[in-house]
């Protein structure tokens, strides 16, 4: 029983409960202790360590450690710490508690050894992250949060349905890799997980909700939901060929929208879809190198994407706006944030000596080694778009562009800089010393990113992308627009859906209720004195006080018989 308390996910969730009991001034600091404790447990547990518990007839494996879950556990715990530092100045208990529950449930998913444990943490993740959107407390975030929650409840429902179906088929609840068979159970599970991985066309919740989350909430969100889904895909669906093409399509789809969008956090949100596309594609390829690439890319991605969300969050915090059209010329006013952003921007673009380089090139090379040249070129195409939108367009129109912007800039809390600094340090550290990450990778595949071929490839592509951007940069200027996506179908369908599913159902129940009242009224009226219609040959009203004595005796006898009968037979 005591072992259950040492599960990393449970540590954070208990932490969330304790946090609510602490006085406000200790809360932010206490927040940081739990990820550290979780990290310590993740690192020290040996391979094959497991904790079991029984629930009814099921023997649950609530924690199981191997190389794959360890590397995801490490990065989730580190991110919870870094994002917690960035959010240290927040005094909102709801956000703090939910952020910790959210991080804890992501860790719970990572170490779940059976599918029931997994689904419990999975749902907890959806609910707690919704709070981080709602915590913004405006109309747009209320609505976006509700759409987000509905989407994830649907995904969780599909996953649960798939798990149950899978259990009926195979009798196994273990989290293990499935053979590529498109049975109903497998497909339901795949779709359920794909929703969280933002696989197109099931991605709209992400681009809809993340830009509307709180400044600090978005940092947590950028790390956990999609990457825990990537973990489950690596674990359960490695080598499913469909994923190659969905992944490559995601990678391109995300960057095209990132070029279109004009809100800095929306650009980054679409970029998550693109980057997760690289991972999904690697998972589809399914070789040891590709799976290592997907894992390493998830690890790197969490670091630089949280850095990017932190620095754009800092811009939003300082200026109050995240629209490119209002920004520009901030280089002199926020030079440090610019520097930190560029570390993230160069990392995500996969420039040499930053951590995107060591993991992105691994996924792309894996496609090359598998002789899937179409996928490889699609991924290279997507990385051009990455550098173009996140490495060039976003910083250019935020920090440069117009020199005469008189936008007011609020000073940032120190802890924001510390949070960003830690993430930036990690990006550069892993970029210079990839072995620190490679030694934790789960599969057995040697890879050296620092070859002349890769250097030539990446440098030529980046230089020429820069040239293209500089020529056409005026075309990317900010304007006040929203870009429609496939969420149009359900957002525009809301009034019609409401008419059918809310008003329609309401009306139906109203009618039924009315009818039932009518029937009840009719019956009470008739049964008040059934003798009136049981004995139609008299017009005399039968009133009990006028019964003859013999009739009373007969009636009492009947009643007595019924009572005896019910006593004997019904009890």
């Amino acid at each position: 029983m005591i072992e259950l308390l040492t599960i990393p996910g449970v540590i954070l969730i208990i932490g969330a409960v304790l946090l609510a009991l602490l006085p406000e001034k200790f809360r932010s600091s206490a927040f940081l202790l739990f990820p550290i404790a979780a990290l310590a447990f993740v690192i020290t547990r040996p391979d094959g360590y497991s904790v079991t518990a029984s629930l009814g007839n099921f023997e649950l494996i609530v924690m199981e450690v191997d190389a794959l879950s360890r590397v995801f556990g490490i990065i989730f715990a580190i991110t919870a710490f870094v994002a917690g530092t960035y959010a240290w100045h927040i005094k909102d208990l709801g956000q703090q508690v939910n952020a910790l529950v959210y991080a804890g449930s992501a860790l719970g998913v990572t170490f779940a050894g059976d599918l029931l444990t997994l689904i419990i943490f999975w749902e907890l993740m959806a609910v707690s992250s919704t709070w981080l959107i709602w915590a913004n407390r405006n109309e747009a975030s209320d609505k976006a949060g509700m759409r987000y929650l509905i989407y994830h409840v649907l995904g969780g429902g599909l996953l649960l349905g798939g798990i149950l179906w899978h259990y009926m088929d195979t009798g196994s609840l273990l989290v293990e890799s499935l053979a590529q068979e498109y049975t109903i159970g497998n497909v339901m599970m795949l779709i359920g997980v794909s929703i969280n991985a933002a696989v197109i066309p099931l991605h709209t919740w992400l681009a809809d909700a993340y830009p509307k989350a709180t400044v600090t909430g978005a940092v947590f969100m950028s790390a956990f939901t999609t990457k825990s889904a990537v973990y489950v895909l690596i674990r359960v669906f490695p080598g499913w060929e469909l994923l190659i093409w969905f992944g490559a399509a995601m990678a391109i789809y995300g960057v095209v929208y990132a070029v279109i969008c004009k809100d800095i956090r929306e650009i980054l949100a679409y970029h998550i879809i693109s980057q997760v596309g690289f991972m999904v594609c690697g998972i589809g390829i399914g070789t040891d190198l590709a799976l290592n690439g997907a894992t390493a890319h998830a690890y790197s991605h969490i670091l630089y994407k949280s850095l990017l969300f932190m620095s754009t969050g800092a811009v939003l915090y300082a200026t109050g706006t995240s629209k490119l059209v209002h920004l520009g010329g901030l280089a002199k006013k926020m030079p440090y944030v610019l520097g930190l952003y560029l570390v993230g921007g160069f990392s995500i673009s996969g420039l040499p000596l930053f951590n995107g380089y060591i993991s992105k090139s691994m996924t792309i090379s894996a496609a090359g080694y598998a002789h899937n040249e179409a996928a490889m070129l699609m991924l290279l195409f997507a990385s051009v778009g990455t550098f173009l939108s996140v490495g060039l367009k976003l910083p250019y129109y935020t920090w440069f562009g117009k020199e005469d912007n008189d936008i007011e800039v609020k000073p940032l809390p120190k802890n924001m800089y510390i949070g960003m600094g830690m993430a930036a340090f990690a990006c550069i550290f892993y970029g210079l010393y990839p072995q620190a990450l490679y030694m934790y990778l789960p599969f057995d595949a040697d890879y050296n990113p620092f070859t002349i071929y890769h250097f030539v490839e990446v440098t030529q592509i980046s230089l020429m992308t820069f040239a293209g951007f500089w020529l056409l940069r005026k075309k990317l200027a900010g304007e006040l627009i929203i870009a429609l996506d496939v969420d149009w179908f359900y957002r525009k369908a809301t009034p019609a859906a409401r008419r059918v599913f809310v008003h329609g159902v309401d009306n139906f129940y109203d009618r039924v209720e009315e009818k039932i009242w009518d029937i009840a009224g009719f019956l009470t009226k008739k049964f008040k004195n059934p003798m009136l219609w049981l004995n139609p040959f008299t017009d005399r009203k039968n009133v009990a006080s006028r019964y003859s004595p013999s009739m009373e005796v007969i009636m009492s006898f009947i009643l007595f018989t019924i009572l005896v009968f019910s006593l004997v037979y019904l009890t």
Binding site: Y257, F469, I481, I482
Partner: protein, 70 residues
């Protein structure tokens, strides 16, 4: 962008070309490796294609007024 920025980028590009033509032995693995400076061409063309493609669909399909959903 000042002139010396462009000079640095130009030198870097020359270095990659020198590397490509002197050190690279890996000419068989992909068909495009036989095209000189393939990645430079690929990068430039992709960049132009993405910008114009995004511009095109933005203008014709996806861009709406900021209050579209309200």
């Amino acid at each position: 962008m000042k002139n010396w920025h462009w000079i640095i980028l130009g030198i870097l590009f020359l270095v990659t070309l020198v590397f490509e033509f002197t050190f690279l032995a890996d000419y068989d693995s992909h068909w495009w490796n036989s095209i000189p400076a393939f990645y430079a061409i690929f990068g430039f063309v992709s960049c132009i294609v993405i910008i114009y493609f995004a511009k095109f669909i933005a203008k014709n399909i996806v861009n709406r007024d900021i209050n579209y959903y309200d």
